[in-house]
Each structure stands twice: as structure tokens, then as C-alpha cells.
Symmetry: none
Subunit: 212 residues, 4 copies
């Protein structure tokens, strides 16, 4: 088995265990046994438990970002882009729940030691959104200075929004992912002001956003 292939497999299994047990409760013993590899091998590949964990996080991040970037690529209206991005993320969660769970474990008691370095996914998503929002804003005539200053925090807030709804969805898995994306459009695109006024957002075929 080629090294890259083997590494990929290790990261997937390890990621699953980290997601299920949490960083500390996941033992190198258990991981090695699940991969069917000796512990020294794990160390040869990743150097330490921390190294393995970070590699698993990066691997998972890369996969979400691939899906997400593919979804928002091309010449699309901002609204359409947001809609497709939301759909892509919830599709990813549905299909690779474990990978998402490493990135956003929900629930406290993390081991903060290397939280910074493990935030790669958050940053990648926020960066993508920041770029998109900034471009669009400028296209739409928003003051460039304002756009520069405001898009990054807004993008971070938006990632938090997705994470928050994803957490709720985990407890209501019977609902389809499209409904989650639709909710986010209503909340994030329309805003509560419109929602509470009864103005809802319509999915693509007849897409027409904005306030009434």
C-alpha cells in the first residue's frame, strides 16, 4: 500500500475515534488497534499524539473546503452562492458527520492547549466567506472601506451560525438537509426583521430575496 494511501486511511480512522471519544479519552492504543497498525508506526508517521490529531483536523478541513469551494465556484449571484454553500456544508455533515465532529465538537471542556493550531477549519471557512462577502459587497456598491472592515467578523459570525444550526440538527436528524439550508437563508439572508414581518425566502426556481 503506498504511503499516501495508508496515511489517508490512518487519518480517517483516527479522526473517527477522536470525534467519538474526544482528544484525551482517545488513546493511542485504541487508535493503533483500530487501524491495525503498531503504535510505533503511528509515531513514525505523525511524531506524537498531538501531531496525529492536528493531521486529522487538517485532513478533515481539507475535505470540507473542497466541497465548499466547488459549490461556490463559478459565476453566481451572491444569494445563489450562499444557498449552494449552505447546501454543500450540510451535505458534508450528513455524509461525514465524524469529520465535522472533529472540527466542531460542540460542548465544553476542550483541551485548550493547542486550540489555536486546531482552528484551521474555522479559519478556512471564514476566509472563504470573507472573500466572497467582500467581493459581492463592493460589486453592490457598498463603501469599500466598510466592506474591508466588516466582512471578516460577519463571516465568522456566519460560520458560528452554521455550527449552531448544525448542533441543533444533530439532535433532529430526521429532517432533510435542504430544510436546514433553507432556514439559514431565511435567517442569514433575509434577517430576523423580515422573518418576523412574515417575509420568507424562496428557494432557487423563483429566487427573489430582499426586504419587501
Amino acid at each position: 500500500m503506498p504511503r499516501a494511501e495508508r496515511e489517508r486511511q490512518m487519518l480517517e480512522v483516527a479522526g473517527g475515534i477522536f470525534a467519538k471519544r474526544g482528544y484525551n479519552a482517545a488513546s493511542m492504543d485504541e487508535i493503533a488497534a483500530a487501524i491495525d497498525v503498531s503504535k510505533p508506526m503511528l509515531y513514525a508517521y505523525f511524531g506524537s499524539k498531538e501531531g496525529l490529531f492536528l493531521a486529522a483536523v487538517e485532513y478533515a478541513t481539507a475535505r470540507v473546503m473542497e466541497d465548499l469551494e466547488a459549490a461556490v465556484a463559478g459565476d453566481l449571484a451572491p444569494e445563489e452562492r450562499l444557498w449552494r454553500g449552505f447546501l454543500a456544508v450540510f451535505k458534508f455533515i450528513e455524509e461525514s458527520g465524524e469529520a465535522w465532529a472533529i472540527l466542531y465538537p460542540r460542548g465544553p471542556m476542550s483541551s485548550v492547549e493547542f486550540a489555536d493550531r486546531a482552528r484551521s477549519s474555522n479559519e478556512a471557512m471564514a476566509a472563504l466567506l470573507t472573500r466572497l462577502l467582500a467581493e459581492t459587497a463592493v460589486e453592490q456598491g457598498v463603501d469599500p472601506e466598510v466592506a474591508r472592515r466588516e466582512t471578516e467578523p460577519i463571516a465568522e459570525a456566519l460560520v458560528g451560525t452554521v455550527e449552531g444550526l448544525a448542533g441543533w440538527w444533530l439532535r433532529h436528524p430526521e429532517e432533510p438537509k435542504e430544510l436546514q439550508a433553507l432556514r439559514l437563508m431565511n435567517f442569514a439572508w433575509m434577517g430576523l426583521g423580515n422573518l418576523l414581518g412574515g417575509r420568507l425566502w424562496q428557494p432557487p426556481p423563483s429566487r427573489e430575496p430582499g426586504r419587501g
Copy 2:
């Protein structure tokens, strides 16, 4: 020192250490030393490390919720309420960053074992928002069935939004809290549709920040 007082002090110090180190890396030894109490005392009061942690979470939750509830109490317009709620939360974060950090540690690798029981803060905030949103929606003539179904997930998303922006703010502490609240109003109340169209939200007269 009366028992209640001592307990409060323990919870504050322990909360700070849990927030700084994470659940696993925080050792009972370190916590006891920081409180200047013997370890057995900790066990006498809280039974176990888990018990101590959960008590600290509850204590922090109770404090945010007090502030938040006070801020949104009274006969206020929905918009005003949201605005004041946001302000209250960011004020809390500014003053009690550690308490917030225990509740929303940001960053992966949690110890999943008792994540459920530690979600009290999220649930409390989401429940408050759910109630407010539902009431307002119905007042505004939204179909009650829709309101019933949609407010809870939207509320969870909103909590995530706050958490997301708070995370960003932690890395940009030079900005005033009012600016964060203003951002959230623009994002969550107006929606991206309006924002990208250049339509911004104005804070109510008797307050200060924002841009016209």
C-alpha cells in the same frame, strides 16, 4: 468563611482554570492550589472532578442568564430587545471572559463523555430566545404553526452566531462591545440581503455607536 461564600469562590477559580487549560489538562492539584484549599475539600464539596466542572458550568450559566434576562425584561419592541440582549451578552464577555470561555471553549478535542450535561448554557440561552422569538412572531401575525416549528432551530443558530462573533472578538479585543452588538443587529436583524444592498441598521436614539 461561610459555606456559600467559599463555594462561590471555588467555582470562580476552578472555572478560570478549566477555561484556561481545558477540562483534561486542568488538574485537581492545580485547582486546589489556586484556591488555596486542600484537594479533599474539593471532593467534599463537589464529589468529583466532573462534579466540580459541571458546577462551574452551571454557575457561569446562571450568571450570563441573569444578565441576559434582566436586559430583555419589560415591555420592549422585538428589535429593541434583540439589541439590548446582544449588548448584555457582549458586556458579560468583556467583564467575565473566563466564564464565557468555560461555556464556549472554541476549539476541538473535547472530552465527549458528558458533553450533554454540560450544554446547559447553550440550552438556557436558546430557550430564552426561542420563547421571545415565538411570542414576537405570533404578535406580528406569522402563522403560529410555522412559528412553533421554526423558532427553536433559528434560536440555536442565533446563539451560534453570537458565539462565532465572540470568538472573533477575542482575537480583536481592542474593539468596543457596542460595535459587536451593532454588527449582530446588522447581520441577524437586517440579514445579508439588506447588508449587501447597503441598507444598514441604526441603533435606537438614546444610544451611541454605529454608522448612519
Copy 3:
């Protein structure tokens, strides 16, 4: 409550807990709570856990010995004496199983540290038997030198015999104590040689021991 009375009560409760949990697993906390006394009181009365334990053992010993001595007192034939002694012991076990269980806990893993000082019961019973056997032997014309040398080890063996059968009885509590005493007479008085030859011992009314 007079001190002696209170002390007696403490020893009974403590003895019960020691018997149920074993020396180490019985905590001073549990014992104090069961007696409904504060821990410092326990220390005031008995000095230490070890002191409490030894006092409980002595108390239990004193009680068996009272019963046993009463049973074998008076001018009785050796056989009759043995029979009455056995009956007394099994009666005691039936009525005060816990006291017996401190003295003969059956099963390994004792905490040998102060085993010597805790053997008081064994010694007391063995001493009583030694005296009786020696007297009888001499009366029956056994060489006094032999009697002197042999009675003590035989008495210890006999105590072991009683303990062994008591252990079996604990697992077959449905049988009456008289049957246990009868068995011991057959074994200890008649001997296996007679038993295997089919010669059994008859209880008192028609008592007639010896070999066929």
C-alpha cells in the same frame, strides 16, 4: 447514657460493619455515621481504627466465651461436654453471625499487620478446650506426659474443625444447628475410622460413644 452502655453499643455496630466490609473497606466515616456519633468521639473512646477493631474483637470474643463456658460448666461426662459445647457455639453463630464473622472471616486477604493481637478468640477457645481435654484425658488414665504435650495442638485442630464446618453451614443456612453439632460429634468424637465403618454417634438420650 452511661459510658459503658454507649461503648457496648459502639462495639456492636462497629463489629457489624467490620464483619460485613472487612477491616480496610470499613471506613471510620461509615462507622461513625452508623453509630450516629461524630468521628472525634470514636477517637476519644478507642484511640485509633486499630484500637476500635481490637476492642470489637475482644467484645465478640467475650460473648462467645461466656456462652461456651456456661455450656460446659458443671460436672459432665466428656462426651456430654463436647456435645453441649458444640451446640452452644452453633447457637451463637446462628444468633450473632456478625460477631462470629469478625472472629473467623473465612477467606484470604486479611490485613496481617495485627493478626496476632486479633487472635484472641481463637486462643480463648483453644485454651478452654485444652484444659478440658487435658483434665479428661488424665481422668481416663492417659499418660499425663502425653496429655500435656498433645492436648493443645488437638484443641487448635478442633477449633479449626468447628470453623470449617461453620463456613460450610453459612452456605447452607437452611439446616438446623443441631445437625451441625451432631456432625461434629460424629467426626470429632467417633472419628472417620468409625464413621466409615458405619458406626454413628447418637445424641444424648441414648448416648454411647467409642469404637465398635
Copy 4:
């Protein structure tokens, strides 16, 4: 060092320490140091302190039982068999006092938690005796129903007898083991009825001790 060999060594040393200190007072630290092995090795082999202890008990049991079964094997008269069995047991005690002491610690304050599972030796010996006694009794024409009912408790009593005399012997180690076996024959085979009548048991010709 091959695993089996190492395990045997561990069990012997651990057994010795358990016997000397008792289960609770023996610490894993001390045991590991005495074997000259790290504590984690102990856990790798036996899982827990309890596991180690039980393994040591089983090991000791297996060794007594080997000797005992070898001694009573073959076509022997009941009397001869008993005599040889006693000799074997006392020989074992003389040579492996520690192993015997783990099985029959004499002295109170056991940790009752797993007393049941630690009684293996008692049960093994009692089972062997039960079988032998039952066979012999039937051969000798004893009512089979009586034999079935009585042999087990008698066997347990007999094990207690051996234990009792062994306890005495520990305090009088200057006497030879043959004398102990002879005593037991006189007590258990002849019975006190005969003893007190001055009728003693004679060892079989080809052996030595005893008094005519």
C-alpha cells in the same frame, strides 16, 4: 525471559508479599519493586490488583492440589490415603509456607469484597476429600444416601481441622511435619472417643514417626 516464566516469578513474589502483609497493606508499588519490574507491567499481565491477587491464589492452589493429588492417587486403603494426604499437606506447608499463608491467612479483618472468588483452594481441597470420602464410604457399605448428604460438610470440617493444626504448627515450627500428620490421624481417624480411651493410631510399617 519467556512470558510464562516471568508470570510464574511474578506470582511467587506477589504471593509472598500478600501473605506477609495481607491484601490491603500490600501495595502494588512494593510488589513491583520486589519483582524488579515496573508497575505498568503488573497491570499488563494481571489487569488490576485484584486480578493479581486472584492469580496468586490460583497459582498457590494449583500447587497444593498437585502435591495432594499425587499423594492420594493409586489404589490405597482409606486410612493409608488419609495418612499420605496429611503428610503431603504438611510437607507443602513446610516447604512453601508463604503459598499456604496466602490461602489460609489466619486472623481476621479480611477484605470481604471478593472473598468468594478467593476461596478456590478451600473448595478444591474440600472437593477432593468429598470425593474420596464418598467413594470409601460406599465401598464400606455406608448407606449411599447418608454418604451423599454427609461427606461434603465433613470434608469441609476436615479442611478446617488441617488449617487449625497448621496454625498451631506455625507457632511451633520446631516439630517435624510427620508429628502433625500423626496427630491428625489420631484426631480425625480415631476420634476423640478413642483418644481419650487411650487408643492411639499406628503409622503404617514402612514409615517412621509416632509413638506405639
